[in-house]
Every structure is written in structure tokens, then in C-alpha cells.
């Protein structure tokens, strides 16, 4: 690893001399680790709760889109141990909708009220004496749904004939804005060359070890609520929650636990649960605890918005890009939850990435679809944007037959032009992109990698090299989300800007130090970094500093920007803490100055002592000075406040509001990252092997290289997941298909390639107090597109999408599939929904078969596991069936109907099954053909599965459904007198067809 030490600047007036830096910049071990490694961490589920606390379990929608016709909780509430069952109607009656950043008629209460809009949406909450009983009771809540058509694709959702999720909004495009920065149209008209590509970026997240956790208590006396949760902020959501709960802000007390088991953004979207659990506590009359489980987390916690981007570039023959045009369709799932659609706006100022491109137009469609609502995910809008921009740069290089890195270099923001104002408004504070790239190319071994590629290609291998550059924003401007409003709307609703950080540094009478700050860490090591900063200022040992970051909204300093997101810590929380420590140091210097008989400017701090700079023999112990401040206020210099406690709130003036021309400095500090990699694709299997990966970052002053590299390794690991494995998959009908870790594949240590990390350049930010910038998100931005560019280089094709599944890659590199030598193979099941066809031979002529089909006895005999079947109308039946495979069985209620009757030739058979394992609806077209004195039934079917079995059944659920269909016809045939093996197993079924047709293709 390569580090260059750069001095940060200290602009605080009155500080005579920079303190010695014993800790900042050093690889100090994390003070957080010993308790965590010993198992002494204290997470919410470890914390004691009040006697009588109830445990909540949440009933969730098995449907992607349906009206709720009725909810019957009478059986559930009467079960032993169950204290309350809360529905969306209850919540809607006692709360106001959770507001978002712009006026919209969309109503969101955190729980479905009269309609469900995604699989996993909360429908009811059971509060019981333990979680087992609460989950038992879920089985006894009866919900009647009327399924509605669902839409999952963002482009389809924007179409005029799409099913509308929120009738009150009237369109699935809930926000649309056009931004024109510069003279983009003119630049395109004048450009010699233009390129256009369409990018689809998938839906994913980063899954923490610990999911959501909430303990909520309604306080009868004050009417307020006391909440402990692992909510991560931003605390701009605190007023959102308080308003929804219809209480004054100060009556919603929120506390964070000592430890949180990771978040990566996901624990932002916990806030709707706080609201609904507060109501549950109020209705139950007891505190309520809810610990989210993994099934809930994957289906219904949060996800990054998936996005479609049509990006166009205008450029000349040298590859100098003059303008970009970006059209985004940003898919936020079923509801917008504050601060959504923040990711796309957080990156707005950086729409031109690291390039000196002068003109950019941006068109933002914000969409709702029948998927889990979105939230924060590490990277927050960056992966989607940079995937488009960096794929475009690679595409242009291909068009011009230029090396992609050469094209990148030609377009970079020139060194020496910082702070640089990007056309969409980002004020990029500092950097030297050219030098970082040069040093990374040499230090990272790019020349050798190019030779490896040449050698591999000579050997016939599919080998590619990819590049990506990214600007890494940190500390969000709290005003950026207002960019989605028009200038007039902004004026009306009031200006928003800045980002407040709060910190308090105190010294007790013994001279030891306590720090409180508003960073709400989720495992990053904030306590260590703050202790480093404060210890250096006050001349104490790091073990003399205790940092407590458990925020209590009734006691601790916080403002709306508080929390843990968007690389806020290093620029903001570190700045506020630094400033508080500096002020405390100044105060101590003034107190000590009179005893040491030197001016305050000459007082030095080191080794738990204060001393005269010119005479180290002239010293006092720090605890003596501290003691004086506490024990003898009268002896302090005139006008000085007693005791030693400095509280600071800090906001950077550079975070200005959105301009009238929609320019916005979206973040305070901007780091820079450059990656290159070499990959090889196995021709046989389509698998990718990452041969070499180099990542290089300039994050300004590095507070702690160990923490910084930890963030890079972590971000890289998550990005490997996004690039190769992770995706929330939905069927076209909105069914959720990746409900367990067997189907949502997280990259683990075993999948990690070696990562070379470089920090060849440190460009301190002039806008943060320590010169530090964020470092936690860089590889979310760079790695997916760097790998995609490498795959594009290896394969010479453009339409690269992530995750890079081997099956997809193999199809890219293979020609047509070897044909089957028999005609029967055409019948192989195909497609993403479950559909198929088959045939069965039965005794009796079509008329006999027809009568059996429309008859209770015939159906009862045919339906596998049929326990009861009764006619409820003409050609309509209700049944109770037990269905399943092997030990996985469940009882289902079935509604069966026959329609489109063409006696005795064809009919349509429809069935809807619902039970604890989920719901299934199927349609089958049956055709009866007389054959050899009997009857052949040809059937085609399509089935939609939803709910538990579909979510967790992954590989097997489709096969199981097909098997049951085939069993139906087998049993039907058997009931008519002929046992026929058709459909029981594919090979024998094929053999039968082969013998029938006897043909070779």
C-alpha cells in the first residue's frame, strides 16, 4: 500500500500552533473491536426490555398488487398470548401519511390500508407474549384479496396502459423533471459524432448481518412515544415520523443502541416500522418489540432503485465530449418513502462525473412499480449514474478505436482547475486526477496487465481489461432533494441547504475526555477516528477519550442531517468534533496561561500535560487545569464559562441551495477513484475470473489508513456482489423470487479476488476542517462498471448488464444451441412464468370426458389431495385441497371455474389456490380430441405463484407446480378407467410423444 503524508490545514483562528499529530493519520486499531470480538457487543435484541413487552410479527402480502376486500382478525385475537392485532385501517385512523419531499396525493402509512402493492407489504401486526405465538397467530388472520394486474418493469410502468398503483396520482410517473445545464442541444447539433446507449441497472441492496430492530412504547401520560431502534438517520425523518404520529417532535424520543450490526444504508427505511409499531404499542397498551427476520428483510426492507438510462454523448474525432444527455427511468417500487427519490438527485450535480464536459441535460422519470419500496444503499445513486457514463466513455473509445484510458484522460477535469464548478452544479473541491491515474498506472502495473491480455488472447482466451473513473461525493447538501421541485415550488416551500453536524467534547475534573456526536455508526469505527482527533487536540492518550455515539433525541445534540449516510462522517462529524476539541483546547490554554505565566498562544498540550512552549519544565498536569475549571469557577479568566464542555454545530457554507437554474452543489467534498482490472471468461461455462483488480482513491486527508482501507475492502466486496451475484428478482407478475440467501446471492470472502489498494495522491478538501473526504462508497460506483467494461472488452459487445451471470455470458459467447434430434424437445418448459403443455389419453369419447370435467365427482377425483369440493354456481366450484411435494404440504382453499365452453371440444379451466404456503392462480386451455376410440386431452397452462413458497422455493417451486398439473391429468385419466403414465416424468412422456410422431426433425 502506498501512502503519502499530506498535512491538513487548520483554519481556526486563535489556535497558535497545530497540535502534534500522534494519532490522526495513523493506523490506530479500532477501539470498537475488543468488545465485539469478545461477544460483548450490545445490539437491540440483547438489550433488556420492560416487563410485559410484547413481540410483534407482521402479516405480509403474498400478492404484488391486490385490493384488500376484508381482514378478519377474530380468530387470531382469541389465541392464547395474543394481545392485539393491528391492521392498516387502525394505523390509517391514528396517523397521517408519511410525507415525502414534494407534494403528491400518494398516501403511505407504512402498512397496507385498502390495497397491497408489493409482495411482502405489511398487512397486519400481531402483538403477542412471544414471537412464536405471534407468528402462529398470523396463520389465523383471514384476508380476502382481489388481485390486480401488476407492473414491475419501469418502462412498462410509464406506459399509458400500465396498471396504475396509486389511482390518486393517476400515473406511475410520480415525478418528472427536465434539467438543462449549458447549451446541450446546440452542442449535439454541432457535434461531429454522437453515440447513444441504453443501460439497465438492476435492483439490489447490501444486506447487514443484523436486520431491523425496534422497541416502541406508547407513553400514556405524555401521549408520546419512547423508541429504541437501529435506525441510522438521516434525522430529517424524525419530524416525518412525529408528524405522522400527530405528536410534537419532542414527544418522540428515539434512542440508538450501543451497537448496530451493519446497515449499508438499509436502516434508513426502518422509519415506517417505527410509526406502525408505535401505533401497535398504543393499541396493545404495552411496549412492543420487533426483530426483523431474514425473510422479511429480503422481501420488504429496502432496495436501491433499479434504473433504465438512455445516455447520449456528443463528441469530436479526438473523443472530446462536449455534451451528455441523460434520460433516467428510476424505479422506486410501490411507494416513495422520504427521502426518496434522493439517490438520483444526490448525484445530480455530478452528472458529468470527473469530466470537463460543459453541457448536460438530465431528464428524470421517477416511477412506482409493484416491487419493494426503495431506500438508501451504499453508493446512493452513484452506481446507476456512473454505470451509464463510464459505459458511454468505453463505447466512444470503441467507436474511435482509442484506448479507453486515453479517452478518459482526454476528457478529465484539468488539474489546477479546482474548486471546479460542474455544469449541473457540483463544486468539486480538490483533486489531481491526472496524477492519480499516472501513479496508479505505474504503481498498479497496467503495462504488465496489458501484456497478460495480449498473451491470453494469443492463446485464444477471452480476456478483457476495464477502466472506470469516479468522483466520490461526501456529506450531502440537505437542499439537494429540493432540486426535484421547480424554482417556483422551491420558493414557495422555503429554501433548503447546508448540513448540520453536532458534537460535544467534555473534560471531567480528572482530565479525561468524553465525546458525543451525531454520527450513529453502524460498525465503521467512528469511535476510533473521533478519539484520534480529540486526543491529538488535547494532548491526551487515546485511551483517555471515551466516545459515546448512542443518540438520544431528547438529550443529545442533533439536527436533520444527523445520522450515518452518504459518507457524512469524515467531512462533517469529524469537522464538528474537531472544532469542539479545538475550542476546548483554547479554553484550557487560557486557564493554564495564567498559572504558567505565558500567553495562551504559547501553551502546548502533550502527554496529559500543558506546558509553556519555550520551557517544557514549566508545566501543569491536565487534570489540575481541568479540576480548576470544575472546582473554582471564580478563578477562571473573566467572562469564561465554568466547567469544560464544548458543544458545536457545524454546517459548511459551500452547501448552497439549488440555484434558479437548477444547479446544485449536491455534496460538500468530492474524492476521486480510479480502477482498472483484468478478467478472463471461461468459454466452456461463461464464468468470470477476476485476474487482477486495482483500485486507487484520493479521499483527501486520511484519518486512519486502517479504517479507510477497511471501507474500501468492504465496498469492493459489496460491489463484487452487485457485479456478479446479487439481484432482487421479480417475476413479470410481481412475484418475488429471491426471498432467501439461496437465491439472493451475497458475495462472501470465498468469492473475493485479491484487491490492490493505492492512495497515491491526497488532496485535502479546503472545505472540511481536517481536509478529509468520504471513502466508504467509491467501489460501489467504480467496480460494477469497471468489470462490465472489462467484459465488453473481452467480448467486443456493448449490451453488458449486471449481475454478470454465467448463463447470460454463455449465451453472449455461444452461437445457436445444438438442435435436438427429436421433435419432442420443443415441448420443454420455458419462460419465466410457469407455463407448459402436455397431453393425456383417457378412456371414453370426448362427450364422456366432457361430462366428467364438469362434474363434481370427476373434478374431485382428479384434483390431487382434494378433501372437499362443492359446486357453488354454474361451472364454479370451491374446494379444500392438501397439496405439496414430499414433506412440504399445505392446505389450500381453491376456487375453480370452467369457462369458454365449446362442448365437447374445448374449455378454459381456471383455478385460484390460497393457503399458508402462498397463493397460486392458473389458467388452462383444454382441448379434447377423439383418438383411437378414446380421447386425447391437450392442455396448455400458465400459473402464477405468489407468497411464501414462491419467495423461498426458488429452484423447486416451478417444477413442483408442473408436477401437480401433470398429476391432475394423470388422476383424471385414471378416474376414467385408464391408467396412463403421461406427464409423470418427462423422459417417459417424451418417449410417448416420440412414438406417436415417430419423426426425426
Amino acid at each position: 500500500m502506498l501512502y503519502k503524508n499530506m498535512q491538513s490545514t487548520d483554519s481556526e483562528a486563535g489556535v497558535a500552533q497545530r497540535p502534534r499529530q500522534n494519532y490522526v493519520g495513523q493506523r490506530v486499531l479500532r477501539v470498537e473491536n475488543p468488545p465485539l470480538l469478545r461477544g460483548h457487543g450490545l445490539f437491540i435484541d440483547d438489550m433488556p426490555v420492560k416487563a410485559g413487552t410484547l413481540h410483534a410479527a407482521i402479516l405480509r402480502s403474498p400478492h404484488a398488487h391486490a385490493e384488500i376486500l376484508s381482514i378478519d382478525v377474530t380468530d387470531a385475537i382469541s389465541l392464547p398470548g395474543v394481545r392485539a392485532v393491528v391492521t392498516g385501517q387502525d394505523v390509517a385512523a391514528m396517523t397521517d401519511p408519511l410525507i415525502v419531499g414534494f407534494a403528491t396525493p400518494m398516501r403511505y402509512h407504512g402498512i397496507a390500508v385498502d390495497r397491497v402493492r408489493y409482495v411482502g407489504e405489511p398487512v397486519a401486526i400481531v402483538c403477542a407474549s412471544d414471537r412464536y405465538l405471534a407468528e402462529d397467530a398470523l396463520d389465523h388472520i383471514r384476508v380476502e384479496y382481489r388481485p390486480l394486474p401488476a407492473v414491475v418493469d419501469p418502462i412498462a410502468a410509464a406506459a399509458s396502459d400500465a396498471p396504475i398503483l396509486h389511482p390518486a396520482v393517476g400515473s406511475n410517473v410520480v415525478s418528472y423533471r427536465e434539467f438543462r445545464h449549458g447549451e446541450t442541444d446546440k452542442a449535439f447539433a454541432e457535434a461531429k459524432r454522437r453515440s447513444e446507449i441504453v443501460i439497465t441497472y438492476p435492483r439490489n441492496s447490501i444486506t447487514p448481518i443484523e436486520g431491523y430492530a425496534v422497541v416502541a412504547e406508547h407513553l400514556l401520560d405524555s401521549g408520546g412515544y419512547d423508541v429504541i431502534s437501529n435506525f441510522q438517520g438521516p434525522f430529517s425523518l424524525h419530524p416525518v415520523m412525529a408528524r405522522a404520529l400527530r405528536i410534537p417532535g419532542n414527544r418522540l424520543r428515539h434512542r440508538s443502541p450501543p451497537n448496530s450490526g451493519g446497515s449499508f444504508g438499509s436502516k434508513l427505511a426502518l422509519f415506517p416500522y417505527i410509526v406502525i409499531l408505535c401505533i401497535a404499542s398504543r393499541l396493545a397498551g404495552r411496549p412492543v418489540k420487533w426483530i426483523e427476520d431474514r425473510l422479511e428483510h429480503l422481501a420488504a426492507a429496502s432496495a436501491a432503485p433499479n434504473r433504465v438510462t438512455r445516455i447520449e454523448a456528443a463528441y469530436d474525432d479526438d473523443g472530446i465530449v462536449s455534451a451528455l444527455r441523460l434520460k433516467h427511468w428510476d424505479d422506486h417500487g410501490a411507494y416513495l418513502r422520504a427521502p426518496m427519490p434522493a439517490p438520483i438527485y444526490r448525484m445530480h450535480g455530478l452528472s458529468t462525473n470527473a469530466y470537463g464536459i460543459k453541457h448536460v441535460d438530465v431528464f428524470n422519470h421517477i416511477l412506482v412499480t409493484n416491487k419493494c419500496p426503495t431506500g438508501a444503499v451504499r453508493g446512493f445513486g452513484g452506481p446507476q449514474l456512473y454505470f451509464a457514463v463510464e459505459r458511454m466513455m468505453h463505447t466512444i473509445a470503441g467507436e474511435l478505436k482509442l484506448d479507453p484510458l486515453e479517452l478518459i484522460r482526454r476528457n478529465l477535469i484539468p488539474a489546477g482547475s479546482f474548486p471546479y464548478r460542474a455544469p449541473a452544479g457540483a463544486l468539486i473541491d480538490s483533486g489531481d486526477y491526472q496524477r492519480l491515474i499516472d501513479e496508479t498506472v505505474s504503481g498498479g502495473g497496467l503495462d504488465e496487465l496489458r501484456q497478460r491480455r495480449d498473451t491470453a488472447r494469443r492463446q485464444g482466451k477471452l480476456y478483457g481489461i476495464g477502466f472506470a473513473v469516479v468522483v466520490e461525493p461526501s456529506q450531502s447538501n440537505m437542499g439537494y432533494i429540493s432540486t426535484l421541485k421547480t424554482g417556483i415550488e422551491r420558493e414557495r416551500s422555503g429554501q433548503k441547504d447546508g448540513a448540520v453536524a453536532a458534537a460535544t467534547v467534555s473534560m471531567d475534573p480528572l482530565g479525561t475526555v468524553s465525546v458525543v456526536a451525531d454520527s450513529v455508526p453502524q460498525g465503521q469505527g467512528h469511535q476510533t477516528a473521533l478519539a484520534q482527533i480529540v486526543a491529538d487536540q488535547l494532548g491526551v492518550k487515546i485511551e483517555d477519550v471515551v466516545v459515546n455515539l448512542e443518540i438520544d433525541t431528547q438529550k443529545d445534540g442533533w439536527s436533520i442531517a444527523a445520522g450515518n449516510y452518504s459518507c457524512r462522517f469524515a467531512p462533517a462529524v469529524a469537522s464538528a468534533t474537531h472544532l469542539a476539541a479545538v475550542r476546548l483546547r483554547e479554553k484550557l490554554a487560557r486557564i493554564a496561561a495564567s498559572s504558567l505565566n505565558v500567553p495562551p498562544d504559547n501553551v502546548e498540550f502533550a502527554d496529559r500535560k500543558v506546558f509553556a512552549r519555550d520551557n517544557a519544565e514549566n508545566w501543569l498536569s491536565l487534570h489540575r487545569v481541568a479540576g480548576q475549571a470544575h472546582w473554582s469557577p471564580a478563578s477562571l479568566p473573566d467572562g469564561m464559562a465554568p466547567a469544560l464542555r464544548e458543544s458545536v454545530t457545524w454546517s459548511a457554507p459551500e452547501l448552497t441551495p439549488t440555484s434558479a437554474r437548477d444547479e446544485i452543489n449536491t455534496s460538500l467534498a468530492y474524492g476521486f477513484g480510479f480502477d482498472f482490472c483484468g478478467i478472463e471468461i471461461a468459454r466452456e461455462t461463461g464464468e468470470i475470473r477476476i485476474d487482477k483488480y486495482v483500485t486507487s482513491h484520493d479521499c483527501g486527508t486520511i484519518l486512519n489508513p486502517g479504517l479507510a482501507d477497511g471501507q474500501i475492502h468492504g465496498s469492493f466486496a459489496a460491489a463484487i456482489g452487485a457485479s456478479l451475484y446479487e439481484e432482487f428478482s421479480y417475476g413479470e407478475d410481481g412475484s418475488f423470487l429471491s426471498g432467501t440467501f439461496a437465491d439472493y446471492l451475497v458475495a462472501t470472502a470465498a468469492e473475493m479476488p485479491k484487491l490492490d489498494i493505492l492512495h497515491p495522491v491526497q488532496s485535502p478538501s479546503p472545505f472540511t476542517r481536517l481536509g478529509a473526504k468520504g471513502i466508504a462508497e467509491g467501489n460501489q460506483y467504480s467496480t460494477p462498471v469497471c468489470l462490465a467494461n472489462a467484459v465488453a472488452d473481452a467480448l467486443g459487445r456493448g449490451d453488458i448488464t449486471v449481475p454478470l451471470k454465467p448463463a447470460k455470458i454463455l449465451e453472449w459467447i455461444s452461437g445457436d444451441e445444438a438442435k435436438s434430434r427429436s421433435v419432442a424437445a420443443k415441448a420443454s418448459p420455458k419462460g419465466s412464468s410457469i407455463n407448459g403443455e402436455g397431453l393425456a389419453y383417457v378412456a371414453g369419447d370426448p362427450q364422456t370426458v366432457w361430462s366428467a370435467l364438469l362434474n363434481e365427482n370427476g373434478l374431485r377425483a382428479a384434483i390431487p389431495g382434494c378433501e372437499r369440493l362443492e359446486r357453488v354456481g354454474e361451472n364454479a366450484f370451491k374446494a379444500t385441497v392438501t397439496l405439496g411435494v414430499g414433506p412440504v404440504k399445505g392446505s389450500f382453499k381453491a376456487d375453480i371455474g370452467l369457462s369458454d365452453l365449446d362442448e365437447p371440444r374445448s374449455a378454459v379451466l381456471k383455478g385460484v389456490l390460497s393457503g399458508l404456503l402462498g397463493t397460486a392462480s392458473g389458467t388452462g386451455l383444454l382441448t379434447l380430441v377423439p383418438q383411437n376410440g378414446g380421447c386425447r386431452i391437450d392442455y396448455r397452462y400458465e400459473i402464477h405463484l405468489s407468497g411464501q413458497a414462491a419467495m423461498v422455493g426458488g429452484r423447486m417451486v416451478n417444477a413442483a407446480a408442473r408436477r401437480l398439473i401433470n398429476e391432475f391429468f394423470l388422476r383424471f385419466a385414471a378416474s376414467l378407467g385408464e391408467v396412463n403414465r403421461a406427464g409423470t416424468s418427462l423422459p417417459s412422456w417424451r418417449a410417448r410423444i416420440k412414438s406417436l410422431f415417430g419423426a426425426q426433425q
Binding site: R131, T685, T740, A750, A807, V885, Q948, R955
Partner: protein, 275 residues
Amino acid sequence: MKPANFDYARCERVESALDLLAEHGDDARIIAGGQSLMAMLNMRLVRPSIVVDIASLDELAYVKEAAGYVEFGATVTQAAAEAWPALRKRVPLVAAALPHIGHFQTRNRGTICGSLCHADPSSELPLCLATLGGDVVLRSRRKKRVVGALDFQIGLLSTAKQPDEMMVAARYPAARSGWGYAFREISRRHGDFAIVALAAVVGDGKIRLGVGGVDDKPAVHEWDDMDDDSLADALNDFAWDLGGGDDIHATARYRREMVRRLGKKVIGEARQCRS
């Protein structure tokens, strides 16, 4: 993710487990390592009224060499089988397949017989048993019987084991001199459920290929030994016969391609390692 209520019985003797099965039949589930059952219980995919724990039945924790086969008792974990010194020599196919089963942590608890009873279509151990033509030993209070692998696994998660029966052992045919055995699989990450798993046995002028992960249960095909062109055609037919379906990890076509491509490779490897 909490299981529905169930009774739990830890058995000290095989007979007491059989008594409980006789009493509760289909409402009872045996747990040994619990690596599949626990997840299914927690997701409430299965709701037995009683879980019969056989993990402490030491009498079934044996690996035994017999005439022509190696017998694994019902409580032998996959890790214990891996550690059995003669494994590679006596059942090289199982030795090659075991590292692909989950991770060492899951193999520390998961058992050979438990995997066979669970009958997951992607599982390695049922595939090996089917390809080698092995047997399982089932016991109930009524009788003891030996069932061939192909008759035992009848479909998705489904076996011929009767509700009052317990698998007490599995018999994997021992390696034959002059025969070759090879195993391969492809999955998204190591330890994931196989997209396609392949087991090949070559000997006595025959090629036998078992494929897991494509159909509802392991599919085994045997051919007379043949040249490469004919083998390619044969594998293509086999691939199309199996069909396979699309899921979120791979397409039907990808599964067929793997049968063709990796099938050829694994057969080649089996040929090469003929002893």
C-alpha cells in the same frame, strides 16, 4: 421465521425412533444434522407434530466396508465421511463430490443419509448413489428392506420411504478395478445448490452419466463406450431429454449446455482416472 409448535424427542436407540415413527407416521420428521430440515421448519414449509432426533444414535455412526459396497450409517456426517481414510480409494466418486456439498460448517452437521432422505434434485449424494446404482436400507417396526437408488428417490423431495420407515444406512458400491469415476458441478458460488451436477462412471465398455439439478431427481443414462462424435450426439439427446427449466440463476439452455459441455469433460476425466 419461527417454527410452528412441535414435540421433540431425542432417541437413544433405533427402536425408540421406530416406535415414534410407527406412532406418528407422516406427522413425524426425523432430524439428524438438520441442515435442510431446520430451515424448512423455520420457514414453516414443514409442520411436523414431532421431530425425532437421531443424531445421538451412536450405533448408526459407522462406516463399514462390505462385499462390493461401503455402508454409511444414518448418523455419519458428511464431514466424518470425508475424514474416513479409505474414502478416496473405495468410493472415489463420493470423495470427489463431498467438497461440493455446502461448506465445511454445514458438512460438520449434515449427514449422508439425511441428504438422501431430503431428496433435493440438486444434491450431490443422491446423484452419486443413483449413478453408482447403490442402495438404501430402510427399517420400520414391521421390517427391514433394501431399496435401489433409482426406486428410492421418486421425485422432488420425494422418496419411497414409508412414513413409519427410517433410513438406517446407505450403501455406495465400491470402486471397481479398471473403472474410472469423476464428478463436476457448476453453481453460482462454491457451496450453492448445483445448477448442474454431473457424475460419470466409465468401465466394462460402458459409460454412465448421472445428472443432477436439471430434472426432478437425478437422471442416469448409460451408453456403450463410443467415439467423441457419437458421444456429443448422445449427450445432446440426453440434454434435450432432460429439458430443464429457467430459474433466476440459469436458463434451461444453460443447463443443457452444461450437460453437453461438462458431460463431455467429466466423462473424459473418468476415462483418464481408470485404475
